[in-house]
Symmetry: C2
Subunit: 126 residues, 2 copies
DNA sequence: TAACTGTTCTAATCGTGTTAGTACAGATAT
DNA sequence: ATATCTGTACTAACACGATTAGAACAGTTA
């Protein structure tokens, strides 16, 4: 959980970096369903970021049904993250759409795209 | 050239939308190498945007070697756009990398990725 | 009760994209 | 030469959103 890297100088807002980082932890299984997230205040202290920014990220993750929060209890990874998974696959489709669109502009062959995926896939095998 | 759509309410800056639009015109061949771009002032008038914003976009495109500008003469599509092409292919690779990375998080099969590319490719055939 | 939790709110600050206006220098047609 | 176009540079002001700061409220738990 605490291996999330925040770049305060980045153009992407801190709360979005937080969302992406935590989302990755959850989807990758590094955080199990039901597991407790650090409290808003403690994570804010750990990352040297304002609690409001953490709160904003948590609220967004809750909207995406990746976590659930309750006053007094804390925030926890959702028991069922499949709905969030589905939305995430949509993001992947958008990535591929963008790549195909750009490839058409450069008149790149389709085979080159699938070859690149092959190569990237092998290169990231654990 | 003038079929570039600018969304002033978008989160992405206007000058980036301009860059993307003009880049697309050039890479797709809609604008030929050597062809003149509209002047900073005329395009600003046509799109109802401040000339400084157009200038910022042109400066960025020149940095990417997609166009070249000279005071008094105007701005023109570069004679040789292959260097810019190369950089653009890098962007495609990044898109695919992101997709592969996200797919791994969801434990999506590689075949599903290539299938999606197949489908998207067919769907965008002119 | 005390100490934790999330949540909400306002005000101030800061960065950056955008606008507005002006000015300068090079090119070109008249 | 003059007029008019071109790109370029600069400052000041404005707008918007992200972030911070601080306070307050409500629910949970030991």
């Amino acid at each position: 959980m605490s291996n999330i890297r925040i770049d305060v100088k980045s153009r992407t807002p801190i709360f979005e970096q937080l969302c992406a980082g935590i989302r990755e932890e959850i989807l990758s299984g590094a955080m199990a369903p039901g597991e407790a997230l650090p409290s808003v205040r403690s994570l804010a202290c750990e990352l040297a970021i304002n609690p409001n920014t953490i709160q904003k990220a948590y609220a967004e993750l809750e909207r995406q049904k990746l976590i659930s929060s309750a006053p007094g209890r804390g925030s926890f990874v959702s028991d069922d993250i499949r709905p969030a998974m589905g939305a995430f696959e949509e993001r992947i489709l958008e990535d591929l759409r963008a790549a195909v669109h750009r490839a058409r502009l450069c008149s790149i062959e389709k085979k080159k795209l699938t070859d690149l995926i092959d190569k990237e896939w092998e290169g990231t095998k654990q």
